[in-house]
């Protein structure tokens, strides 16, 4: 396959891993290698590194990877660069699920997953099925009608979240607002340990189905005529995406546009063959959100900007750029 360019493929992955390695050393307070292993006297730096920076960096990386690869699958499935879990309202669905959980004040866990994650997963799955159902209703579902459906679903769930906030007391309401802005202010490794298995299995499903995703990106008729069991395939993919988006949203809030920008940039660099695109998107998406989180931590330090605000400030113009371009050429990338 001449189309496969190893330099770019491995280069991007190495670059992303380098960002992951360096990120915990960057911040309001620079930390050096010797600081983190220091056992003598002042252990502040070492604590900052191990208990705050490292968990945060790992969570952001996993979240970015999961959002990016989910976005990549949606783009292929809907054959549209603007179709991502965020723009089509899946993140809002997950956010609604998680907000319901916060509001009813239940605390339970199932198979090691917190109730909030399960609620977010259900919210995400509900809206995935909803979006897909709508897109099937009308034959020749255009970009415009798909985006309008996404806007409608976003409005719908946003109103429900507002309603929940209205019913909540002040502190809980603020808690929901802050969480909706998206961010990784966290201490300890719990979020990482929660995300790790979910992102691992979700991505594994996607990595195993890259031939099938290639077929889907050519349209369902072609996928069927090549022998792919499209209905079963979509259920697997929807499950993987709902699981990942639900968990990420439950932990860090709905962070927008990563699932659009990261896979798109990777498509431009490595092409549309998902066998190569999926791993690159995974690592690059992680590094991309990590980069945004570094901006969030450092731009106006000592204060922080919610990372969701940063990604949306970048993503909004990017979205418009894609929209204008796709109207002109009707293209995928």
């Amino acid at each position: 396959m001449k189309n496969f360019r190893p330099a770019i493929f491995y280069g991007l992955i190495v670059f992303s891993l380098a960002v992951l390695l360096l990120a915990p050393f960057i911040g309001m307070q620079s930390i050096s290698l010797t600081d983190i292993f220091s056992r003598s006297g002042d252990q502040v730096y070492s604590d900052v590194f191990w208990k705050i920076r490292l968990p945060r960096v790992l969570t952001a990386f996993l979240a970015g990877a999961a959002l990016a690869i989910s976005g990549m699958v949606f783009q292929a499935m809907f054959r549209n660069p603007l179709a991502t879990p965020f723009t089509l309202g899946v993140s809002s669905g997950a956010a609604f699920g998680a907000a319901v959980y916060v509001k009813i004040g239940l605390f339970f866990a199932f198979l090691g997953f917190s109730g909030q994650i399960l609620f977010a997963f259900l919210g995400a799955f509900l809206s995935v099925i909803f979006v897909y159902g709508i897109s099937r209703l009308k034959k020749g579902f255009t970009t415009n009608s798909m985006l309008i459906a996404g806007v409608a679903i976003n409005f719908f769930f946003s109103s429900l979240i507002l309603f929940i906030q209205y019913l909540s007391d002040f502190s809980r309401s603020f808690q929901i607002i802050r969480w909706l802005m998206g961010g990784f202010e966290m201490i300890g490794f719990r979020p990482v340990l929660t995300l790790l298995p979910v992102v691992f299995f979700g991505s594994l499903i996607i990595f195993f189905l890259t031939h099938e995703i290639n077929l889907l990106s050519l349209g369902e008729d072609i996928a069927l005529s090549r022998g792919s069991d499209v209905q079963k395939l979509k259920i697997f993919l929807f499950f993987a995406i709902s699981l990942m988006v639900g968990s990420v949203v439950a932990i860090s809030g709905p962070i927008g546009f990563i699932g659009m920008m990261a896979p798109h940039i990777c498509r431009l660099l490595v092409g549309n063959d998902h066998r190569f695109l999926a791993p690159v998107t995974f690592f690059f998406g992680g590094a991309f959100l990590l980069f945004c989180d570094i901006l969030a931590r450092t731009l106006i330090s000592p204060a922080e900007i919610p990372v969701g605000v940063i990604t949306s400030l970048l993503g909004g113009p990017f979205f418009l750029y894609l929209l204008i371009r796709s109207k002109e050429e009707g293209v995928f990338v």
Binding site: E220, R226, G227, N272
Partner: protein
């Protein structure tokens, strides 16, 4: 006697209670070159999609090599039959070679990758269809004719004995139309594959195919030899308009004369 490949018995297809195909029955034999013609909305494309199991049939039966359609997995079906859909003009995000290679998908082991053998078969398919020189081009940059031939190459790589084609020459200029027909003839005559093609071009259906099926409002109006369709008894009934015929100067077959209006 050639082997019976596809046996369609009383096939009915409905969408939301609206009949698309009604009581369609006919048979397709090994190495047939069969054209399906008929007015717009007759159900031609739907019939192909029923054969490829893109649409689930409402009632009736389809047998492939004596085995009912529903007993095939989609993968096994794809090893037997391949499909070139009508161009919908939507963006296709792969290179020609990668696209043709995906034709090998039904032969892939679960979680497996394409082998050197698959790559060779894909390259052979490009060779046969004479598009090796554009193997690294993006599908989206191809002309309509090249794109159509790339689709046929992918169907060939699939290795199925039966090819379904939905209006393969619509929107093509005469030279590319000719090219596509030549490739189809080669696939049919020298490779022994069965060709089932939907077309609006009645002349080419009569001149190039062995047998013709005429559909109208979802029912079969005619099944039989292609030489006999050039007759207003048959065509005028199907298209609700009479045709004027003449003789082909070379082959002496009957062909339809284009309408001429007074200026």
């Amino acid at each position: 006697m050639r082997k019976l490949q596809i046996d369609i018995r009383n096939l009915t297809l409905q969408f939301n209670g609206k009949p698309i195909l009604q009581d369609v029955s006919f048979q397709i034999f090994e190495r047939d070159y069969l054209s399906i013609i008929g007015p717009n909305g007759a159900g031609k494309t739907s019939l192909l999609k029923c054969l490829m199991r893109i649409y689930p049939i409402t009632s009736g039966e389809i047998f492939f090599l004596g085995k009912p359609l529903q007993e095939f997995s989609q993968k096994n079906l794809a090893r037997l039959i391949s499909y070139v859909p009508q161009s919908d003009g939507r963006y296709l995000p792969l290179t020609v070679l990668d696209f043709v290679l995906l034709g090998r998908y039904p032969h892939l082991h679960p979680f497996g990758s394409f082998t050197k053998e698959d790559l060779k078969i894909a390259r052979d398919a490009l060779e046969i269809t004479q598009i090796s020189h554009i193997s690294q081009r993006q599908l989206s940059t191809l002309s309509g004719g090249e794109r159509q031939i790339a689709f046929i190459a992918a169907a060939l790589a699939q290795g199925a004995d039966i090819l379904l084609l939905d209006e393969p020459t619509t929107f093509l200029d005469p030279r590319h139309e000719q090219e596509v027909y030549q490739i189809l003839k080669q696939i049919n005559k020298s490779m022994g594959k069965t060709i089932i093609t939907v077309t609006h071009d009645i002349n080419s259906a009569a001149l190039r195919s062995d047998r013709v099926v005429i559909l109208k409002n979802g029912t079969v109006q005619y099944v039989g030899s292609a030489d006999k369709i050039m007759d207003n008894q048959i065509l005028a009934r199907a298209y609700d308009k009479p045709f004027l015929f003449t003789e082909h100067p070379l082959t002496k077959q009957r062909i339809i004369v284009p309408e001429a209006s007074e200026r």
